[in-house]
Symmetry: C2
Subunit: 358 residues, 2 copies
């Protein structure tokens, strides 16, 4: 786990991570499917180059019939295309105080792409997992050092999770071959979890007969109350709505400027476990709320559009907020203190947009 800081300023290392790990411009919420190049990226190490013409994916470990699949063999299997909203589990970290030193996301670690691939389950069934199988480890070709440990990025799923029909081995994004920065030639898609589970640049799949204890599984991506707390693993996305900031921005502060009058506000909302049932909008910093109009979710794992009208009658400064609630009754906290945790994960505090009506 990285250090935390009480500073309101940011380190050179955090800025370096922000420059590499692209955010989605929030005006990109206009697009139901995020254009390539606007979708967020979180890349721990370097983007590896993996030659698709010689690519092979081993599926091995506690299986009866180990496999080595070429990209052509994977593409020859039944194909599925699905919209999946993806969010980094560190999204919103920069608003927490004290702050974990890692990717300093504000609100923009989001995107919804249309992924094409083949379901994972039938491949695991073909390899024939032994009864002893407990977890499946997905290893990426991306390698580096974190907390002094050199390793390939790798994450595991339980056998039960891995066999769910929506788990994809994806080779296409928005109708195009997977771009290098999104995991070419093949990546995992775990639709309802935060992004860290969707391992990019797949190098191998190993079936284990014991729980996986890699650093990215047991040390990172833990919801912890302190450095000493062993924590609980980060898994599913939580309810979250974002708006397209209205008006025009100031270059540096991103404060929004607009003229008095009726303003159409729109955005998108999502969750991991349960569909979004309600989106509310506030123009007074969260003191009062009104229901927004909520559209259909794009498939089971896409996001849902929402909209409302705001009467910006009087000149002045406003703080606009939006809040999503899912069908299980989970909603977003108003204050970052309520989301605070040691690693700065799973912060779904409501978005706040400063607007000057002039």
């Amino acid at each position: 786990m990285s250090d935390i800081t009480r500073s309101q300023d940011f380190t050179r290392e955090e800025v370096g991570l922000a420059l590499r790990n692209h955010g989605m411009h929030l005006e990109g919420l206009r697009y139901p499917v995020t254009p390539i190049g606007m979708h967020y990226l979180l890349i721990h190490f370097d983007i590896p180059f993996v030659d698709p013409t010689t690519y092979e994916l081993p599926v091995e470990g506690s299986v009866r019939s180990p496999l080595r699949l070429t990209l052509d063999e994977i593409k020859a299997r039944p194909a599925v295309t699905a919209q999946v909203m993806m969010e980094c589990s560190g999204n919103g970290r920069a608003s927490l105080h004290p702050r974990a030193i890692s990717a300093p996301w504000q609100d923009e670690a989001v995107g919804c792409a249309e992924w094409t691939g083949t379901p994972l389950g039938p491949i695991l069934e073909e390899a024939g997992m032994l009864d002893e199988a407990v977890e499946i480890v997905f290893t990426g070709h991306d390698r580096g050092v974190d907390d002094g440990v050199e390793h390939y990025y790798e994450r595991s799923l339980s056998v039960e999770e891995a066999l769910r029909e929506e788990m994809l081995l994806a080779y296409g994004m928005n109708g195009q071959p997977l771009p290098p920065q999104h995991g070419a030639p093949l990546r995992l898609i775990v639709p309802d979890w935060y992004g860290m589970a969707s391992v990019k640049w797949l190098k191998r799949i190993i079936v284990l007969n014991e729980p996986f204890d890699g650093i990215q599984q047991t040390a990172k991506y833990q919801y912890k109350s302190s450095k000493e707390d062993p924590g609980t693993p980060i898994t599913h996305k939580t309810p979250h709505a974002l708006m397209i900031p209205p008006g025009v921005p100031d270059y540096l502060s991103r404060t929004r400027h607009l003229k008095p009058g009726r303003v159409s506000i729109q955005g998108r909302a999502w969750s991991g476990r349960s569909p979004i049932e309600r989106v509310e909008f506030s123009s007074d910093g969260g003191l009062t709320w009104e229901d927004a109009s909520l559209g259909e979710q794009a498939g089971r794992y896409g996001w849902a559009g929402w909209s409302c009208e705001w009467e910006a009658r009087e000149p002045g400064e406003y703080e606009l907020c939006v809040r999503a609630t899912d069908a299980a009754g989970n909603t977003q906290p108003l204050a970052p203190e309520e989301s605070w945790n040691y690693g700065g994960y799973q912060n779904n505090t409501v978005q706040r947009v400063c607007v000057i009506v002039e």
Copy 2:
């Protein structure tokens, strides 16, 4: 002009700009043509949505025959495809001290795309510029506030510059329609200047009979020794080489780790006015240099690949540097102090990569 700071730390506003304005991952130097989604972006305000089906580009002002061109009409004109290396004039700003508060680029505000479009000159000739014409203003659809002034982003070129055959109105990038974040549906490409000249989301072209004095022309993008200095305009790219950092990175510090042995180092180099003639590599922080092998430049405005072998014999810490010199004898400074200027523009100080051989 934004404020400058003596702090080594970065503000929340700078981090916000870093998250929006994507850098090219330096391992992307492997690609002669930067994949979409890895090319750098500098977007002052919001990415506007411009409907290509109703798009019209007015060409007006001091002309005999004002034009209004649809996208289909522009695409029906003679097409040119060219590789153009683009760099933000603020690249390297984060290394200067004191530092201008703006996009806090380290080394990554670069990319080389293959742009497809139609030459600008014949369109201006068709409109018939009057003898009084002095400058051509290119206005984008992107609008916002900077230094308290609300404006569309706009920049001008002299008549002579605008008529150069390599100026393109581009609607394609890497064989695809221009993506929203790169200026869809139509942008200007000014191949040898820094990126600020290549106006995105073109809204109109106006021929002026006097010099243009818009904020992005006369207040921003000036090379100034102090706040009071009126400055000289930033124009052409200067010589610059970057390497792919070898080995594997530490997640946070990006320090590189590798094993002793022979290491192939490669990268790319470019300039604005004159071709790159020499690239040198140093493994001791710039005390001693050896010539790298320099490949062909990709067309007149692309970048050139270079490579060298480094014998990393002994464990220890190394500072790798690379330096380009162009045919006119211009080279890169070793120390950021030599590149210092008030706005943090045109900083082509040599890249420094920290490597631990272990």
